[in-house]
């Protein structure tokens, strides 16, 4: 196989989580009964007219500024025209040659290196509805709840050179959006969608090869896998002396392959023209400045500050800053607890594990930072064991109670009185002669069993480490006595 270099560009569609749609007052709640969130405007009924949602416009400016884009002094909307049943007006109101913003960038970290990926443009557009196919009927149905929901399309420059860079770009992009609090960024609900453009060229050359657009990518991992697959497919074709066809391909997550959807040559002509129902918008520079002044500290900056201020490893700083909620919990907890590293570990390991296991976004989880502080303090003063703390952590999130309250209510204090522990050890040893024998016969497992018995007898209130030491001591003592 010859050496090829991939050229990767990403088009990301982000649903803005505004309360109402882009051009009418309908709500945007996900999962409502079909067509319950529609009105004459978003259904495109004859005679209706669009009116731009000011909030969506403002959020668009925030996003543009967060990616260091130049917000344009004027923007206009255009009609992108094609026929499809989920498109109520026969055109989508989008932006063609005068988008909201252009020429920005996003810095990503790959390995130890920081790489700057250019952002070509950001434009606003309305979402389409959704087709529902009933496999038992000859008819299909349309749900227009999503029609008119505001979208931002963020188009990168074709400056990524490895699947991992695409993955990092998306991760960082999502982090920035979470800081701005403008989108739920949920790929499964479709509030974040990504298409990847991939082409190959012989390593060391500059002209671009024919590009393939990959659609139907439903996770960041899928983006990475699809690009990897496409690189191999295209390389093999090129090695066979074939030409790459410029086309759109669909990612098949099950088969882990891409399938041809349609070739670009036969693609429709969208007949863009300026939307006459909306006047061009003059974007006031003072307004942009005001929006910029209200931007929060963004991930890259916060990451650098975290590493410096709390003496955290770069890895910790980068994981913690991936989501605004995570870093907020971290910083607030550290402010009360004092030590950074244990808090970082808990947020990175326990909180993230909790979210991942339940497939929930950190934003959907309520965790008072003070709960984490109380847990850590309880471990420090040996009130509870680390193991108990992990269970309590989950319990306090699920029940929305301070773990301290659970400790008190359940009497979960660890037994620190050694004489009490000695007594438990003696009882367990007396009741389990076989295990004692087995241990003496060299079976280390038997000790673990005995520790388990002690824990059971104390309802988990014993410190397992101290329990083990006591048992070990007693087993060797009695051995000496016996011999």
């Amino acid at each position: 196989m010859a050496a090829y270099e991939p050229v990767i560009g990403l088009e990301v569609h982000v649903q803005l989580a505004t309360a109402s749609k882009l051009f009418c007052g309908c709500p945007t709640t996900f999962g409502a009964p079909a067509n319950s969130q529609t009105c004459p405007v978003c259904l495109g009924l004859p005679g209706t007219l669009p009116v731009l949602n000011e909030r969506a416009f403002e959020w668009g400016i925030r996003v543009a500024l967060a990616f260091d884009c130049a917000v344009q002094p004027t923007m206009k909307f255009d009609r992108k025209q094609y026929f499809y049943p989920d498109l109520p007006k026969g055109y989508q109101i989008s932006q063609y040659d005068q988008p909201l913003a252009q020429r920005g960038h996003l810095d990503i970290v790959v390995g130890e290196q920081t790489k700057r990926i250019g952002i070509h443009r950001i434009h606003m557009e309305e979402d389409a509805g959704k087709l529902l196919h009933d496999p038992h009927a000859t008819a299909s149905y349309v749900d227009f709840n999503r029609a008119g929901v505001p979208l931002l399309e963020i188009v990168s420059e074709p400056e990524m050179r490895a699947p991992e860079e695409a993955y990092q770009y998306l991760t960082e992009l999502k982090a920035v959006l979470s800081y701005l609090d403008v989108s739920t960024c949920n790929m499964e609900e479709g509030s974040l969608r990504c298409d990847a453009n991939v082409s190959l060229r012989p390593a060391g050359t500059t002209p671009f090869g024919a590009k393939v657009e990959i659609k139907n990518l439903n996770s960041f991992k899928a983006v990475k896998a699809a690009i990897e697959y496409e690189m191999v497919r295209q390389a093999e074709a090129l090695d066979r002396g074939e030409r790459i066809v410029q086309e759109t391909r669909l990612w098949d997550a099950k088969a882990q392959t891409t399938e041809s959807m349609r070739s670009k040559e036969g693609a429709s002509d969208y007949r863009y023209f300026p939307e006459p129902d909306l006047v061009p918008f003059v974007i006031d520079a003072a307004h942009v400045k005001a929006v910029a002044a209200k931007l929060p500290e963004l991930p890259a900056k916060r990451r650098a500050r975290l590493a410096q201020q709390y003496q955290l490893p770069a890895y910790d700083a980068s994981v913690l800053t991936q989501h605004r909620r995570l870093v907020e919990v971290f910083e607030q907890a550290v402010a009360q607890y004092g030590k950074a590293k244990p808090v970082a570990n808990w947020v990175m390991v326990e909180l993230m594990a909790y979210c991942n296991a339940r497939q929930r976004d950190p934003d959907e989880i309520t965790l008072q930072p003070v709960w984490l502080v109380h847990l850590l303090q309880a471990i420090d003063n040996a009130t509870i064991s680390g193991k108990m703390a992990k269970e309590l952590f989950v319990e306090s999130i699920e029940q929305q109670v301070d773990p301290q309250q659970i400790i008190e209510a359940k009497g979960l204090r660890q037994i620190v009185d050694t004489s009490e522990l000695e007594k438990v050890a003696e009882d367990v040893l007396a009741d389990n002669p076989k295990s004692v024998e087995a241990f003496r016969g060299g079976k280390q497992n038997a000790l673990m069993f005995l520790v388990g018995q002690c824990m059971q007898r104390t309802k988990g209130k014993a410190n397992p480490q101290s329990m083990m030491e006591i048992l070990k001591r007693k087993l060797t003592e009695s051995k000496e006595v016996a011999s």
Partner: protein, 495 residues
């Protein structure tokens, strides 16, 4: 041709008189409406000015107004509405098969404004399908006839609105004007019609033909009525982003201001070969009348006039092709058969649209196509700017511009139907006002030797409707053309 002067029949009286008589108790609005509906039932089968009128519904609306009000400036007055203006619950079809059965779940803003003043809405007047035409022959429900001569067209596309006002089947009506669709039928039917400044009247609820050109406006029996109705229609609407926030002046106050010292411009490009000499003479005579009222005549030039029709047919069809894309059989209106989505689309649109609609959709699709956009649509927008600039320059020399409304009086039914280019030239004098966005009003200024009405057009700078009403009212006071009425008995007999 039979003409009669206006009688004192209550059905002939202008809106402002009727309104005053209802308010004073001299006219019983129930009796009036009943007489009007009876007249519609008598003459509409031959004139076809209305698509259909539901007597019970209209009477019920009046009963509700009488019981609950509001007792506004149009209290108890019936207003006729063109079939492209949405009325809640009433079939609104743009005289097209493709919208058959469509009942909007909302009122157009203009309907709300009329209702707020106590008016009773009579839906719907006939029109060219989707307002595509200048003769009302392109209606899926049949041709409207000119009340002055039923063998002739009423003009279009608001032919039903104009014919109903002329024939006293309406007190006043709403039309829409994209390239002359209010003014040309007003001229051909001998009534007053105004296209306001783009953005003066909300387009919310007006089923779009060409969004950057469309305006709703009044068609009335005289200039005072035009001012009355415009006062109700005009104003900013937050539901229409192209609606202007400009304050609405007192149009009625403008009616009685003297015109002494004001200048009217005659653009040399509008007195061209091909114009009916009788029409040219009538407009020249009108110029003398205005001079007799103390106005000064100046000569102005609108050098880009010759490009107006071509520019219009690029811009208007492009927007129309897009606005009509939503009629796909999926959500409402007519649906054709088909075993696949594509087949359903094809049958729906081929069977649902009339010939002229298909012609304009294809033309508009072509001018927006990849590779042609710059040469046609973009070029069209540039010429549009030049035409607008022509008017800006001309209005430095004069206060209003005076032109004929149409190059010919009402033509025979069928005469131009198979010659689209000839038909398109009917709008040669009206199209520029839409491209420039400026207000323009047509009003009666004479009759041909065969007794057909002739209209003259007054144009003014943006948001200067009051000036047109002021000059128009001065002219009307000096003439009696607007008082003449067609004889419908004769029309019916001929039919």
């Amino acid at each position: 041709m039979t003409q009669t002067n206006r009688t004192d029949s209550p059905l002939s009286q202008p809106l402002h008189q009727l309104r005053d008589r209802i308010a004073s108790g001299a006219v019983d609005p129930r009796q009036f409406l009943n007489d009007l509906l009876t007249r519609i039932e008598q003459f509409n089968p031959s004139l076809r000015a209305y698509i259909a009128v539901d007597r019970e519904r209209v009477q019920a609306e009046l009963a509700e107004r009488l019981a609950k009000g509001p007792r506004g400036r149009l209290f108890g007055v019936p207003i006729t509405v063109k079939d492209n203006i949405c009325v809640r619950g009433e079939q609104t079809t743009c005289a097209s098969r493709i919208l058959q059965g469509f009942r909007p779940p909302y009122d157009a803003t203009v309907i709300e404004r009329l209702a707020r003043e106590g008016a009773v809405i009579i839906p719907h007047a006939n029109m060219d399908e989707f307002a595509f035409g200048s003769s009302t022959e392109n209606s899926a429900v049949g041709v409207t006839r000119n009340p002055w001569d039923p063998s002739r067209v009423p003009g279009g596309s608001s032919g039903g609105s104009a014919a109903s006002v002329a024939a006293d089947l309406a007190v006043a009506a709403l039309g829409s004007d994209t390239g002359g669709s209010i003014r040309q039928p007003a001229a051909l039917c001998g009534v007053v019609g105004m296209k306001p400044t783009y953005g003066r009247v909300s387009r919310y609820g007006l089923i779009a033909f060409a969004s950057s050109l469309d305006q709703i406006g009044p068609i009335t029996k005289d200039v005072t009525d035009c001012a009355e109705l415009l006062s109700v229609l005009a104003g900013n609407d937050p539901r229409d982003s192209t609606s202007a926030p400009t304050a609405v002046p007192d149009y009625l106050a403008a009616l009685n201001k003297p015109v002494t010292g004001m200048r009217f411009g005659l653009p040399k490009e509008y007195f061209i070969e091909g114009i009916d000499p009788e029409i040219q003479r009538a407009v020249e005579e009108a110029a003398r009348v205005l001079e007799s009222k103390g106005m000064k005549r100046v000569s102005v030039s609108l050098p880009h006039t010759q490009y107006a029709v071509a520019t219009y047919y690029v811009v208007a069809t492009a927007e129309a092709s897009s606005n009509l894309a939503r009629y796909d059989g999926v959500k409402y209106g007519y649906r054709g058969a088909g075993s696949s989505l594509l087949e359903m689309y094809e049958h729906t649109r081929a069977e649902g649209f009339g010939r002229e609609s298909v012609r304009r959709i294809i033309l508009g699709t072509y001018v927006l196509s990849h590779g042609y956009y710059d040469a046609y649509y973009l070029q069209g927008l540039k010429v549009r700017t030049l035409i607008k600039r022509d008017f800006d320059d001309a209005f430095k020399e004069c206060d209003v511009i005076l032109t004929p409304t149409s190059p010919s009086a009402a033509f025979k039914i069928g005469e131009k139907l198979n010659d689209p280019l000839q038909m398109y030239l009917s709008d040669i004098f009206t199209i520029s006002a839409n491209l420039a966005g400026i207000p323009a009003m047509s009003m009666p200024c004479g009759f041909t030797s065969s007794g057909l009405p002739i209209g003259m057009q007054l144009l003014g700078p943006s948001f200067e409707e009051a000036r047109l009403l002021q000059v128009g009212r001065a002219y009307e006071q000096a003439t009696e053309w607007h008082t003449r009425k067609p004889s419908l008995q004769a029309a019916e007999a001929r039919n």
